[in-house]
């Protein structure tokens, strides 16, 4: 499977990338581990790829007040072993370590994974669950987008065509659990569940349970009202629209979500 032809330009800075994105059908290329498979299947046929993969100034993890700022081009492998994350928000490192396989983690980036807006992305769900802030730069300057409102649908996000996701800001979270069910090693999550205590409240997120990463608000409400993990978990399917496909039916996914939410809450 060979991609359709495209032009290639390597950006020397974020500003240069924004300029290059003026081409109507241009796509950003970071690690390429979401985009290249789509190019090969010809689901994506851009006229121009703007390669930002070498912008070293977008590769960092640093403490910033009560938040941790993560450069969009930080690779999953870097996140998994990052000392700041391991100490102050270990769930981010744990989720990164469970993405794909070592080869994928050596190339895939957190910004690429989130900007791709795949409802099966573990990292996207984690950002929603943690209440992350996503920083994007475009022709009109920089803006911050709440992760909760970032995902509009499968592979559709709040990013404008000429905006570049540059930074992800996550809170320091001591307590968090991410569980996913896969049929085989390195598969995408059939269902994933993130739970985390953020500012005294328990937040719950779901992967692969709808068109975007979702908050399990029924579960969160039940917990706020003092429900047990099992009682709260029974509401995991509320407000979800899980797909039915060759991997599993919607009913099976809902069952998995309930089981995984209960287990995650019990471990929290």
């Amino acid at each position: 499977m060979i991609p359709a032809g495209f032009e290639y330009a390597r950006a020397s800075s974020v500003e240069h990338a924004i300029e290059l994105l003026g081409d109507e059908d241009a796509k950003l290329l970071a690690g390429g581990h979401s985009l290249i498979p789509m190019l090969r299947l010809r689901f994506a046929r851009p006229s121009l790829l703007v390669d930002i993969g070498r912008l070293a100034d977008l590769r960092y993890v640093r403490e910033d007040g009560d938040r941790i700022a993560i450069g969009a081009l930080t690779r999953h492998a870097d996140l998994a072993r990052d000392p700041v994350l391991k100490e102050r928000s270990p769930l981010v490192a744990q989720v990164a370590e469970g993405i794909g396989d070592p080869q994928v983690r050596h190339r895939g980036t957190i910004g690429g994974s989130v900007a791709h807006a795949d409802p099966a992305s573990d990292m996207a769900t984690l950002m929603v669950t943690l209440g992350a802030e996503l920083v994007a730069r475009g022709p009109d300057g920089e803006r911050t987008i709440a992760a909760d409102g970032f995902f509009h649908g499968p592979f559709a996000s709040a990013l404008a065509p000429r905006e570049v996701l540059t930074e992800l800001r996550v809170p320091t979270v001591a307590d968090g659990v991410y569980l996913k069910h896969v049929r085989r090693a390195q598969d995408w999550a059939l269902v994933g569940v993130a739970v985390a205590r953020v500012d005294g409240a328990t937040r719950v997120g779901l992967t692969s349970m709808g068109a975007t990463p979702l908050r399990a608000s029924g579960v969160e409400d039940a917990l706020a009202g003092g429900a047990s993990p099992a009682e709260a978990a029974s509401r995991a399917g509320e407000g979800t629209e899980p797909p039915s496909d060759v991997q599993g039916s919607a009913a099976y996914r809902t069952h998995l979500a309930e089981v995984l939410v209960r287990r995650a809450l019990e471990r929290l």
Binding site: I36, D101, P102, Q103, H106, A185
Partner: protein
């Protein structure tokens, strides 16, 4: 066409490539390094694993233009003359292969693993090799080979 320059197995190459050229086909067809196999062609099986700046990557999911300026190692670059690399030697001695098709990828993934974690536990080895599939299901001997290679190199 885009001009790229990179080092493969210690040798410098300059080439013109189409931007859509995948690294694995560049290695196999333009440089004639056919030791790197194409397996699933969908970044699942790991048969095409090579080292890019010392780390394992699946060369079917990297564009040749992305490898511009990097240093690559393929299975052909491991042995020193007639002397096998310790990981190759361990796969040979522990019979860590059956048909051999996945072997270059497993060997390269192992070299990368042992660089990051010189004495991995069995559990760590199995997780670290989850990006490589052996359709002969020869996993037990592969894990033994990785353990033997780790012993030989530490």
């Amino acid at each position: 066409m885009t001009q790229i320059a990179l080092t493969v197995n210690g040798e410098r190459h300059e080439a013109e490539v189409e931007p859509r050229r995948l690294l694995v086909y560049f290695l196999r067809e333009q440089l004639g390094l056919t030791g790197t196999n194409v397996g699933c062609d969908t970044s699942s099986c790991g048969a095409c694993t090579v080292l890019l700046d010392g780390e394992s990557v699946k060369s079917c999911t990297v564009l040749a233009v992305q490898a511009d300026g990097t240093e690559l190692t393929t299975i052909e670059g491991l042995a020193e003359g007639d002397e096998l690399h310790p990981v190759q030697q361990a796969f040979h001695e522990q019979h860590g292969l059956q048909c051999g098709y996945c072997t270059p990828g497993f060997v390269m993934a192992t070299v990368s693993l042992l660089k990051e974690s010189p004495s991995p536990s069995e559990d760590e080895i199995r997780h670290a090799l989850e990006g490589n599939l052996c359709r002969c299901t020869g996993y037990h001997n592969i894990v033994r080979a990785v353990e033997a290679a780790a012993r030989a190199t530490t």
